[in-house]
């Protein structure tokens, strides 16, 4: 499979044979970065007028970008990605922010077009209840297991036979 500039990400664009499957942190992501640089030259990029933002809007815009996922380099946010589509979407988001749209409205605009996939922070709805509650459920189960364990253990005396002289000596060493 050869690298093809600007083609569809589904199965083609962001991969190349010599690195696909490298067992290395983030080997895949920068690869995407590289290729989209190449594809950017293939695509026709027209420069568009800068959209001016007020300082408050600029802050809103900067805070929004990392929460939105680039659809081409799918491990990058819109703030990081150099894919041409990410540039277009940044421009779109900038325009929406300039027109006074709220965070929720901007996200809704993107979700209507690309689905929940564009949100790096998944929405809270029935299919994600478990996702959001899960970590805290796990913590609760773990802590209650500890509590039960401690309650069962608290009054059980240490039988002498369980201590070999050597470990006793080590315990004493440790206390010192």
């Amino acid at each position: 499979m050869r690298v093809i500039g600007g083609t569809h990400p589904a199965g083609v664009a962001c991969a190349s044979p010599n690195v696909a499957g490298v067992f290395v942190i983030r080997a895949l992501l920068p690869l995407c970065l590289l290729l989209t640089v190449a594809s950017a030259s293939a695509q026709v990029q027209r420069s568009r007028p800068e959209i001016p933002l007020t300082p408050a809007q600029e802050r809103q815009y900067r805070a929004l970008l990392p929460q939105l996922r680039c659809l081409v380099c799918q491990d990058e946010s819109l703030s990081d990605s150099q894919a041409p589509l990410a540039g277009d979407l940044r421009y779109e988001v900038r325009g929406l922010v300039a027109r006074g749209r709220s965070d929720v409205q901007v996200k809704r605009y993107l979700v209507q077009r690309y689905g929940d996939f564009v949100l790096f922070k998944p929405p809270f709805k029935p299919s994600t209840w478990l996702l959001w509650a899960g970590p805290f459920l796990i913590a609760a189960v773990a802590l209650s297991t500890v509590a039960v364990y401690l309650r069962r253990r608290v009054r059980r005396p240490l039988p002498d036979a369980a201590v070999d002289p050597e470990s006793l000596r080590r315990l004493l060493d440790q206390e010192r």
Partner: protein, 179 residues
Amino acid sequence: MRRLAYLLPLAVLAGLVGLFAVGLHRDPSRVPSPLLDKPAPASTLPVLETSGQVVQPPDMKLSALRGQPLLVNFFASWCVACRDEHDFLLQLAREHSVRIVGIDYKDTDQAARRWLADNGDPYALVLADRLGDAGIDWGVYGVPETFVIDAAGVIRYKQIGPLTEADFRAHVAPLLGSG
């Protein structure tokens, strides 16, 4: 009961392996469109005149094309995968008389004209999305992508990546036949 607790990790493993076995057969990068079964976006785009024809009016509203089912195909002259599906699109237009509207995505008009002259023109109509704005409205995130629109102007299917004959038979042909 106590014994069962020791089997719990094994049960979790079984669940995970099952999950991965399913996951191995799915492509995680394909993002289904939320636009399915919704009316096609009403983008208005300039018509790209090909082979000397002059079309009036110069701009075209996509929603005006309703009345019979059609394919909307996003393509570009710089896109290599588009070349791969092009022959099949030509065949569709020729042999199955499928109406295909091409949307030339982030491209120059001259390059697209040359490309269509060189490779053949399967499109009933070509519209130019020079900045990629229509692409965003349609949720396009790469080319080629192909949408099936029914007679009522509702999106019924989206093909991500090149349209192959197998995909056409499985997903597209039934929609065109019934629509």
